[in-house]
Symmetry: C2
């Protein structure tokens, strides 16, 4: 291939950087790819940084030091976050979503890749400074958003199972109490999934009483792992006192009226900050 | 903001296009974003197309017609697919991965975002011409790769559950026979998750006898949904006769020796085509 022009280098680098969020690329990699000097690549990076900022397409960060380089952080476009969450609230408030028991059907949103990706990026952006080593969820409905969060953070995801499985090897199992049903439940995590001293970010689709999140905290404690944070997509307004104190949810479920079929959801107030 | 230069437009468009695979962007959107004419955007697109092809960063396709525009297809870099799959085979063949019963521990790979993303892109690229309306998997371990496949195809994912849940609403439940254990198992799919006449792509992490895939085919039949294809990450060499005829797996598990601890895995032959 012939000499690559600056505009081409910029396009290629944006593609490579954004394809792998939070991964540090050494400038030598780009220098070799395009057969140009490192100072030239550094100039390109400055242009990319400004361009991404100007169009709210995410953040480019230069990392200094021996393992240094440049990385892309999928900073959500803040002007679009509230309208996006409002759109989800509108969809989830459509008639016919209320299920017996007052549940709201949310699986279509929770399993729609382009929506889940943005939800994961919102959680990742909020928790990035807590420096989690992994994202943990309990099966099943929170897995896609946990995965999207882990992708944005460039860390592994791990899944606690409701039953222990032969494909997981030795597990640690705990009992916990569901806040709503008061029933004893169990969850298990493979011993080899995580390491002592790591930090785990808890992500789930839904929180009512907080029993599951508290269960996950207890499970991590068994592994001597610190909880970096707790993030959920939807939490209920009632009960306001959850079994965990410190959590962030993107959407607040204010009301579900099984009689009238009315659902009231709204973006959490911290999103406006 | 001032007048945007071509090199900046190219960078921004690459970021926007690749952030949402297989979504058709109307050229007017870009024309308005940059305040330049549509023919200028068309010229930009030609440059982007060539650039992406030259660096094997995916495929840009122009879609004609009223709903036309331009889209990004995450075509895997074919020169990197075999080395990437060989790397996974090497990791999965490391000592200590064999679990009682001859299972191989694979969860770390299956839950690692950057690996899963590439696996999903390989499956999506293979099945894209089957035009699936959604990707379906059965909980739990196949969910991340099913999600990655759905993201690359720009379609929803749906999850069949082992038990029916109150949060899914009315479900259709079937029984099926696990090929290995010969035990009767059940799986359920929410009625509202899919629509009659659609096409579903089955994706899972592992196939031994093919009982689960056959079960998913039966489940889709209850909804009058055609099977677009069956794709799995790992399938076993033995038994060579599976309960489904037509499937593609990325990796073949040739041998697991519980005595010696040896695991032999290799990339499937179709990947070399």
């Amino acid at each position: 291939m012939g000499k690559i022009k600056r505009n081409e280098r910029i396009g290629v680098m944006i593609r490579i950087l954004t394809d792998r969020p939070n991964h540090i690329f050494n400038l030598n990699e780009f220098s070799e790819l395009f057969s140009v000097s490192k100072p030239t690549i550094s100039e390109d990076i400055v242009i990319i940084k400004d361009l991404m900022a100007e169009f709210s397409l995410g953040q480019i960060e230069t990392v200094t030091g021996a393992a240094g380089g440049v990385k892309f952080i999928p900073k959500p476009n803040l002007a679009e976050v509230i309208p996006f969450i409002e759109e989800i609230c509108n969809i989830l408030s459509e008639p016919g979503r209320i299920l017996p028991g007052g549940f709201v059907y949310m699986s279509d949103i929770l399993y729609m890749p382009n929506m889940v990706k943005k939800l994961g990026e919102i959680l990742a952006w909020h928790f990035i400074d807590t420096r989690p080593d992994f994202v943990i969820t309990v099966e099943t409905k929170g897995i896609p958003v946990a995965m999207a969060t882990a992708e944005a953070l460039n860390c592994p995801m791990v899944i606690a199972r409701r039953d222990s499985k032969a494909t997981e090897g030795p597990v640690v199992t705990i009992n916990y109490v569901s806040a709503s049903s008061k029933r004893i439940q169990t969850m298990s995590l493979a011993r080899r999934a995580v390491k002592e001293g790591q930090r785990g970010l808890i992500v789930d689709d839904f929180m009512k009483g907080g029993g599951t999140a508290k269960g996950l905290c207890g499970l991590l404690r068994e592994f001597n792992i610190d909880v970096a944070g707790i993030g959920v997509v939807v939490s209920t307004h009632v009960p306001s006192k959850k079994m965990v104190d410190d959590y962030k949810s993107i959407i607040i479920l204010k009301e579900v009226d099984e009689e009238t079929g009315e659902v009231i959801m709204e973006p959490a107030s911290w999103l406006y900050a």
